[in-house]
């Protein structure tokens, strides 16, 4: 008897909950956001904004979906599975060149985290010494900057495409590899190599300090959902600001998301990633405000892309950058 009442009340609660959820969903306009990679601290600001209810406070409903091995963020944009995605500036430029009508509505990162790393024991001390060497590079893209750096040295390397681990580098299968300072570089450290055993060549030191993560949507979405997108951007920046000021909390949120996604994870690496990603968001000497994309950076990225792809760009800065933040 007692159990019956209990079950009954549970059912009522469930119905009420579902109804109210529907009501909220019905009331708030919804944005589906897809970061360009699996859950990690690189996207802490979005998770925090969602977790702290900044999106709801702004008057929108935001769902975060992640790409998979079979489906990249750009594909999700095309298929309509996502309204907004995050992309590297140079990836977005390339996509637009290939006909995907994306626009940048806000630039989160202002600097490049890309660098080459080599073991000191390999004897490689300068970038030009990579000439003729086997160099690991992401198979999935993001390779334009790295390739521009090598081209700038007038040398040739044997590029070895790599999926996601640093194991080939650890096993000395390659002489050097391109890494994100906030990600693969720390994985190497966390695999037992010390920083003083490594030589690094950061893109920023070789004239390639091109911004990375930005927020993109289809031009049509931009035109139809301006108010919602503006709210999304504002709440996202608020999320990043909160994450910067409450890093432990932000890490907790990230770790929770990673566990749900069954991703191997540890706090130390995510902490390193968050700290570095937040550093990339600082204007440095570029004099940009939060969320702004500098025309200079756009031009630099276009130039690098043009050189690597050997194609003429068919659009101008104002076609590409549609700032929604005042």
């Amino acid at each position: 008897m007692k159990n019956c009442i209990h079950d009954f009340s549970k059912t009522v609660l469930l119905i009420v909950f579902l109804l109210s959820a529907n009501i909220i969903q019905a009331q708030l306009p919804k944005i589906v956001f897809a970061p360009q990679w699996l859950p990690q601290a690189q996207f802490a600001g979005y998770y925090v904004a969602q977790e702290k209810g900044f999106y709801k406070d702004a008057g929108i409903e935001v769902e975060i979906v992640h790409p998979s091995a079979n489906e990249q963020a750009t594909s999700m944009l095309v298929s309509g599975k996502a309204d907004v995605i995050s992309l590297f500036l140079i990836t977005a430029l390339a996509a637009k060149n290939q006909g995907l009508d994306v626009v940048n509505i806000g630039q989160i990162s202002q600097h490049s985290a890309i660098m080459f790393v080599a073991k000191k024991s390999s004897g490689i001390a300068t970038l030009s010494q990579l000439n003729g060497k086997k160099v690991g590079i992401w198979k999935s893209g993001f390779d334009e900057i790295s390739k521009a750096m090598i081209a700038g040295q007038n040398i040739k390397v044997e590029w070895i495409p790599i999926l996601s681990t640093v194991n080939l580098f650890m096993m000395d299968g390659i002489d050097a590899m391109a890494v994100m300072k906030y990600n693969e570089y720390d994985q190497i450290i966390n695999s037992g190599l010390n920083e003083d055993e490594l030589t690094t060549f950061p893109a920023a030191s070789y004239g390639c300090d091109v911004p990375e993560d930005g927020i993109y949507c289809l031009k049509s979405t931009y035109e139809n959902k301006k108010p919602e997108l503006e709210k999304f951007l504002q709440a996202t920046l608020k999320g990043w600001e909160f994450a910067a000021n409450n890093r432990e909390y932000a890490i907790d949120v990230v770790l929770k998301r990673m566990k749900i996604a069954h991703q191997p994870t540890n706090r130390v690496h995510q902490q390193w990633m968050l700290d570095n990603v937040l550093d990339l968001m600082k204007p440095g000497n570029k004099g940009v405000s939060a969320g702004e994309l500098k025309k200079g950076d756009f031009m630099k990225a276009s130039e690098i892309l043009g050189e690597s792809e050997n194609i003429q760009q068919k659009y101008v800065f104002t076609d590409f950058y549609k700032p929604l933040l005042k």
């Binding site: 091995a69 198979k139 681990t165 390659i174 450290i189 966390n190 130390v268």
Partner: protein, 648 residues
């Protein structure tokens, strides 16, 4: 007195106990330290041996699975190189492999892109277990480009077999897996070229079982690291496949853990005190680690220090308790022994006090032992006897001494009665007033003075000082005084009197004694004073006007030295109101504690200050001044003074 004695005894006892306890405690500390050091070393060595055995044993258990598994793809690679296998026979062949070895979960032979012209980019027959059956599939498509997978790429690039980092097989029920890949080569166009990879997937479910079966001490545990330091097995499930030893080291700020991690992934082997603290297991830890030859993973076993040395700590507590009991017993018995030993001493002390009080017959404590206490008893007994005898002798001596003293007292009385001591001496002789004192340094003295009337109207006075002191001097003085009186019955001039006296005394003077002597004869009518000074201190003439001078010295020798020595006399004129002050060297040579003499000058100063006073008062003043000067210092010589006032 009794308390003092009691305190002294307690201090002696405490002193001995303290020293004994300090020594024993020191000895214990040294012994205990040595014992502790060696026992600890022994335990450490034994644990090391056991740990090495355990680690080797566990590594072997794992190797027993991994090493045979390595053989399969190695053989397949050789078969492929020798073209023993055709592309169509691969699926059945792989299935045979799985059927033959239950440890193998899956297997593939993955070829390079477009290796077979008719098979396209991807050609990788793959079989794996699904429940009880074995399924087959072809790997490779646009979203699974196996050429870039670690299991393919790493052995290809390094030209060496490779055990992959463990991973969770997402398709196969989330089992922890690892893949062993062997590159194979074929001859194409006369050249041996890389052609693909043979792999076997090994489930690691058994690994966790082996590792968790390693139970050491109470809470010791084992864990396994991959080649990159990733935790493959650990009692804390949250660590597994999430953390590496390096991320744990960084999170807990333990650089020592990172160092050991680096040694481990390099395949090194050691047993050492862990230079880190673990969040997972508190306290000091020991660690043994050893690399796995096949997969280059590393096994570690953690030994909690407190459990490792638990037996030692237990024995330590027992030892400390035993030592405490031992020291207590030692104290107790030491106190008892000391008390037993020193008990006779107390009796001896009591006896000594009784003996000191005069009870020589007191019973000494009975000593049965033949030791130092017996010697003390003998000494006491001897002392008792000797003291008794000594006291008897002392009694006799004291009686004799008392008798002598009594006789001396009488002698003194006799001596003092020989000199005039009633003042004023001549109440019916108004012309002269006399006062004199004699203070002997001993019972009887060698000083003398005398005065009397001779020849009708002449006042004769004398003062003298016999050499030496005591009884001989007093006898000589008595003789001198008697002779002076008898001689002056017939002779009236000072020179004659003194000469006669000298002759009498010098005769038969065996002991060579002598007397400094002054004798004056004052004509009371005329005031003429004739005198003879035989080596005596010059008297002082105090004139009525207050001036005072010492009579010029006449250079005669003291009497009794040489017979027939011719003494002469001098005269001077006294006027009424003049005084003559006579004294012996006991006055001028009175010494104080600093050996400073009273002196002639001081004497003259006192005399001049008191030039107008009566003879008695003058002598009192000088006596006072002398007393102040010596300030209680022992009088060494007789003091004699005499003043004659020639009345108006």
């Amino acid at each position: 007195m009794h308390n003092q004695h009691f305190m002294a005894k307690r201090t002696l006892s405490a002193h001995i106990i303290r020293n004994v306890l300090l020594f024993c405690a020191g000895l214990f500390l040294v012994t205990f330290s040595i014992y502790y050091y060696f026992t600890r070393s022994t335990i450490e060595e034994t644990t090391r041996e056991n740990a090495v055995f355990l680690a080797n044993n566990t590594v072997n258990r794992i190797e027993q699975v991994l090493t045979p598994a390595e053989k399969v793809p190695q053989t397949v690679a050789k078969m492929l190189e020798s073209s023993f296998l055709t592309k169509d026979s691969l699926f059945p062949f792989l299935k045979t492999i799985l059927k033959g070895d239950t440890n193998i979960f899956g297997s593939t032979i993955a070829f390079e892109p477009n290796y077979f012209a008719d098979k396209g980019t991807y050609f990788a027959p793959y079989v794996c277990r699904k429940g009880d059956s074995i399924t087959s599939s072809m790997l490779g498509h646009a979203n699974y480009e196996y050429f870039y997978m670690d299991w393919y790429q790493i052995p290809k690039m390094t030209n060496a077999p490779y055990w992959s980092e463990p991973y969770y097989d997402e398709g196969g029920g989330n089992i922890l897996m690892t893949t062993y890949s062997v590159p194979f080569y074929t001859i194409k166009g006369g050249k041996r070229i890389f052609s693909g990879i043979v792999t076997i997937d090994v489930s690691l479910a058994w690994l966790t079982e082996i590792m968790s079966s390693v139970k050491i001490l109470e809470t010791g545990y084992a864990f396994l690291l991959s080649r990159n330091g990733v935790i493959i097995t650990h009692p804390n499930k949250d660590y597994v496949m999430n953390e590496s030893i390096f991320t744990i080291a960084k999170e807990n700020d333990q650089p020592g853990m990172r160092l050991i991690g680096r040694a481990m992934i390099k395949g090194k082997s050691n047993f050492e005190a862990a230079d880190f603290h673990s969040k997972w297991h508190s306290g000091k830890l020991w660690i043994i680690y050893k690399g796995l030859p096949s997969s280059h993973w590393s096994l570690a076993v953690i030994y909690p220090d407190n459990e490792m040395f638990a037996s030692l700590y237990k024995i330590n507590i027992i030892l400390v308790l035993l030592i405490l009991v031992g020291l207590s017993l030692l104290s107790f018995f030491t106190i008892k022994i000391i008390n037993d030993l020193t008990a006779p001493l107390k009796h001896f002390a009591d006896s000594a006090r009784l003996i000191a009080a005069g009870n020589f017959d007191v019973q000494l404590p009975e000593i049965k032992t033949e030791d130092e206490m017996k010697e003390l008893y003998n000494s006491f007994s001897f002392m008792q006897k000797e003291l008794a005898e000594y006291i008897v002798t002392l009694k006799d001596t004291t009686a004799a001494k008392e008798k002598i003293e009594s006789e001396l007292r009488i002698a003194r009385e006799i001596q003092m009665s020989m000199i005039p001591h009633i003042f004023p001496p001549f109440p019916d002789l108004p012309e002269v007033d006399v006062y004199a004192i004699l203070k002997s340094a001993k019972e009887v003295g060698g000083d003398l003075y005398d005065f009397f009337v001779i020849d009708g109207n002449k006042f004769c006075f004398a003062i003298g000082d016999v050499s030496g002191k005591g009884v001989p001097a007093s006898l000589f003085m008595a003789v001198t005084r008697t002779l002076v009186r008898s001689i002056s019955d017939k002779e009236f001039s000072p020179a004659a009197i003194v000469s006669t006296l000298n002759n009498s005394l010098a005769l038969n003077n065996e002991s060579s004694m002598f007397v400094t002597f002054f004798l004056g004869v004052l004509n009371l009518e005329t005031g003429e004073l004739s005198y003879c000074n035989a080596g005596h201190n010059p008297p002082v003439i105090i004139r009525k006007d207050g001036s005072a001078v010492m009579i010029e010295k006449t250079k005669f020798i003291p009497v009794a030295l040489f017979e027939d020595f011719q003494y002469e006399e001098l005269t001077l004129q006294l006027r009424h109101g003049d005084k003559v002050f006579l004294y012996t060297d006991g006055v001028t040579e009175a010494e104080n504690a600093d050996n400073k003499l009273f002196g002639d000058e001081k004497l003259m100063e006192i005399v001049r200050e008191n030039n107008a006073v009566s003879p008695r008062e003058l002598i009192n003043k000088v006596e006072e001044a002398v007393a102040i000067h010596v300030d209680g210092y022992t009088q060494s010589d007789d003091i004699t003074m005499m003043t004659i006032f020639y009345n108006e």
